[in-house]
């Protein structure tokens, strides 16, 4: 019999909403030293760090926009995805009741908030992937806020206005353009998820998937890895700074991934993640549950 893990998923949601991952916090902490003492940029980072400590201690949401909940479930062969989905949805409604989550699902046609973060089949967003029967069950959760989602962009290359062709040089140009256009509106400093290729839909999904990786994880291809580092450095030359107050810290990290594309299409998609980069993972092996 498959175990009911509703309570364990509820705990995953609580941790994700109220406790920022350590690798993200470390990056934010390190960036403080780059900003001038007494500057607006430094003040913003200091406030952000105080906020991270406070929400963790009190189990309150880091940000009142608790975002789109995006689940990736890697389930061993034999697990019922129908039951897992039910448990995730039950946990999400309970998390809303306990104020770990703000009611955030609004029917777009009738403009009505469902009140419990459940809406149709798409909210929360759940992806299932089957693994071998002897593997543990792994559930990853990301909460992506609306402010940063609104500044995400997709480009169809060539983009003549930017002089961006269908190669990595073109990719570099459009990614920098996306950061400049976002200014501080995506709650900078941000993290960039970039996907090259695919169709419009798959490219957007992939640009978010790559954000599940830890800060500083580089693409296996050395040339792409180099471009990731370069884009972070160049984006930080734009001077936008935390919250768009001006400063050196605009982007904390860049992650690029590639997909196959049609000969006719060349999409580059940039998903912008705000500093409140909420992602957590739980691993279930037998009776043991580990949170990461």
């Amino acid at each position: 019999m498959q175990k009911d893990i509703t309570n364990e998923i509820l705990e995953l949601i609580r941790r994700t909403s109220s406790s920022l991952p350590k690798d993200v916090e470390d990056r934010l902490r390190a960036s403080i030293e780059k900003e001038e003492p007494g500057s607006a940029a430094r003040g913003a980072l200091e406030t952000i760090l105080k906020n991270i400590e406070l929400s963790r201690a009190n189990s309150t949401p880091i940000c009142q926009d608790t975002g789109t909940p995006i689940f990736y479930v890697h389930h061993p062969e034999g697990w019922s995805t129908r039951k897992l989905k039910e448990q995730i949805r039950t946990a999400m409604a309970e998390a809303t009741k306990r104020s770990y989550m703000r009611p955030n699902a609004v029917d777009a046609i009738y403009d009505k908030n469902s009140g419990n973060n459940l809406g149709g089949d798409e909210f929360p967003s759940i992806h299932f992937e089957e693994v071998d029967a002897d593997q543990p069950l792994v559930i990853e959760l990301m909460l992506k806020g609306g402010g940063c989602e609104n500044v995400g962009r997709q480009y169809s290359l060539p983009d003549n206005s930017l002089g961006a062709g269908r190669d990595l040089a073109g990719v570099r140009k459009v990614v920098l353009d996306a950061v400049q256009k976002a200014q501080g509106q995506g709650c900078a400093p941000g993290i960039l998820g970039v996907s090259i290729g695919g169709d419009r839909g798959s490219s957007y999904i992939k640009s978010k998937e790559v954000l599940f990786e830890k800060m500083g994880t580089r693409n296996a291809d050395p040339e792409i890895a180099k471009l990731e580092e370069r884009l972070t450095n160049e984006a930080n030359q734009l001077g936008i700074g935390p919250m768009g107050f001006g400063g050196k810290t605009t982007v904390l990290d860049t992650k690029i991934t590639g997909m196959h594309r049609l000969p006719a299409s060349y999409f580059v998609t940039v998903s912008y993640m705000c500093w409140a980069y909420r992602r957590r993972k739980m691993t279930v092996k037998g009776n043991e549950v580990e949170y990461d």
Partner: protein, 210 residues
């Protein structure tokens, strides 16, 4: 850091310039989409006759907003059922949605400061010059920390009509951190940074890839 108490004088407002970090202490009021629409239609453009307790609320908020501060915020509030209100999460919301109303609202109520995030447009900037007033940018996402600067919830207007996030919450804050990003001299940090970063972008795009 500069400390300002609310109410704020015109003289203090004119001494503020973009880029300056400030802390605010005193009584302020929250208001977002429903509030701006209601203020504009009922009391400024007068396209809708006052209903229910509208006139009574108007008289009371006039006193709070005169030389006061309006905060674009939809808070998470506990104790709603027992009226023992406490702010749990109270970060700024995106301000541009109020761009059609903001300048008129500032002038009508003599509001000295509008707090939000993301900045506002040309009409509001002109409103800052005319009133005079400023736009204060709070740290987006810092909802737990900003809620902690709220010492006391003094009252709430239109709670039933507008709902918790949209109601007008009157709060007493201490050392609420903000940055002036639009001032009474017609300067906007947002448009300045947009232009400066565009120049850097153009330089970067002109560089060869290899």
């Amino acid at each position: 850091m500069r400390e300002l108490s609310i109410p704020i004088s015109d003289e203090s407002i004119r001494s503020l310039h973009i880029g300056e970090p400030v802390t605010l202490s005193g009584v302020m009021m929250t208001g977002r989409d429903a509030v701006h629409k209601w203020m504009s239609e009922t009391f400024i453009k007068k396209t809708r006759p006052p209903q229910g307790d509208d006139l009574q609320v108007y008289e009371e908020i006039k006193k709070i907003l005169n030389q006061g501060v309006l905060y674009h915020c939809g808070p998470v509030v506990s104790g709603v059922a027992t009226r023992e209100y406490k702010f749990v999460a109270a970060g700024p919301t995106t301000s541009t949605r109020e761009e059609p109303y903001q300048a008129d609202v500032m002038k009508h109520f003599n509001i000295k400061g509008v707090i939000g995030k993301g900045g506002m447009g040309a009409k509001t900037l002109q409103g800052c010059v005319d009133t005079p007033g400023v736009y204060f940018h709070a740290v987006g996402g810092a909802a737990a920390y900003l809620a902690q600067t709220v010492q006391k919830v003094l009252g709430v207007y239109k709670l039933e009509e507008f709902g918790v996030p949209e109601a007008m919450w009157v709060i007493e804050v201490k050392d609420f951190p903000v940055v002036v990003t639009m001032d009474a001299h017609g300067q906007s940090k947002h448009s300045a940074l947009d232009e400066e970063s565009k120049k850097v972008l153009d330089e970067l795009l002109a560089q060869p890839y290899k």
